[in-house]
Amino acid sequence: MSADCDVAVIGAGPAGMAAAEEASAHGLRVVLLDEQPEPGGQIYRNISTNTHSGAPINDILGPDYRKGATLARRFVMACEDGRIDYRRDATVWQVDRDLTVHLSQAGGVADIHARRLIVATGAMERPVPVPGWTLPGVMAAGAAQIMLKAAQAVPDGPVAVAGAGPLLLLIARQLVDAGATVAAVLETTRASDYLAALPKLPAALRAHGYLRKGVAMRRRLRKARVPFYSGVRRLSVAGSDRAEAVRFEHRGAAREIAAATVLLHQGVVPNVQITRQLGCEHVWDEAQRCWRPALDDWCNTSLEGVAVAGDGGGIAGAEAAALAGRIAGLEAAHRLGRLSVDDRALKAAPLRRELAGHRAIRPLLDALFRPPREILDPPDAATVVCRCEEVTAGAIRDAVALGATGPNQMKAYLRCGMGPCQGRLCGLTVSEIIAAARGKPVAETGYYRIRPPIKPVTLGELAGIDA
């Protein structure tokens, strides 16, 4: 098959933009496919529009968000110069092992055959299955941040922000600055987590910028007199047809706080839908408690020609993602004969040094913000795990008792993971529950097999293929 381009990049977040720019700088023909109408991914969502408008929203979102503007500007310039064929509003619904990418765009379908593929689909928020998390008004914390970046809107009425991780505090701070009523920040992080994280602190000092930001966010929230609860347990959301209150245990006492919006967060995990669908080898990351594609030092997966750059290959954050994108771009240039081994090493060396600096903070964050057992393996039998097919934790444990041994068999028992989200919101939890119930490691329990189409495509669009 003749190639339509040298490199196809999927995703226009920091990793995808940097990878496309780097590859194109070495004379490769690059196509970048992205689901959004403008580049930036989720982390820098709407960056061009917001920067251009100069609206106060930029101040609320802060300097880390504004950092994306430079990267986006360089990417857009490369597109305007014709160095990158940027296809916006393009949804990839299947990738073949011969590196044919199937996409839908503007109501029709198309396919692109590439000589190399760089998957830069980033991260998604870890599912937080607590009782009541399916109620309207309960959202992933990142969803509220997207509302801020892309819709200039904040939750109306009292908001509870619950969970763990750097993004939790950042979003609480942004909501306060945007004038929302943050009724409480509920941290599941416990004193024991701080103790466990302590040995990681000296190495993390290399990335002291991140530590300073954490301290500043806490100070800002304290100054705004946002009630702060640490070491929260048994989190749940109460309400009949929508969220009305958040319930939890704090220092042994049951508490309830009224909230119309409850924002849940337990860190982010790689979005592995495409690499799973492709059949790339994945490994269980015990520290980050998630699956990631197995990668070599040059971002290559186990499948020839397929690379992963950025958080889709393991969580390290936006700035690390852009650096990994450049390394993947260099590797593409090398493999396609545009860059010698020596030049590849020479150009990658400073990127690797910078990357190591950003990664220095991770062991501390991973230890400190490790999701609590009750989030990974929900103890309450009635808690919905698969939101699409409404399968509970209890039903999954019952199926294990009946003999189900893994996530793919569980599909046949309960249909979990077979709804429209295709396991994105239940896969990690189902594997954790099965592993715990059978007394086996998650790594051995495995994950859902992901089959195309990985995004909805209509029969009408498909029928149009030959039209």
Binding site: S53, P56, A140, I146, M147, A150, Q152, G419, C421, L459
Partner: protein, 98 residues
Amino acid sequence: MFRRLHDDARAIVTLDLDGAPIAAREGDTVAAAMLAAGAGHTRTTPVGGRPRLPYCMMGVCFDCLMEIDGAPNRQACMVRVRDGMKLRRQPGARDVAE
């Protein structure tokens, strides 16, 4: 559900939600418009008939599935609003789209 910041200067567009008008801003996704209009729910679930609103806003949770301009099962968080767009909340089980 959500309210706009005071300085949001984008043009207003009008959408039709199950026969009633709702206001949105140019550049919004349908899901954002639903949240900002306080629209209650985007769909009900096929198994329990329970109401849902968007959970992730970034294309992974599929709780925002709606019928948009006659096409069912669209991810409302991935579709931009257009003046006069016809939205329907999606009740219960999904149909096969043509």
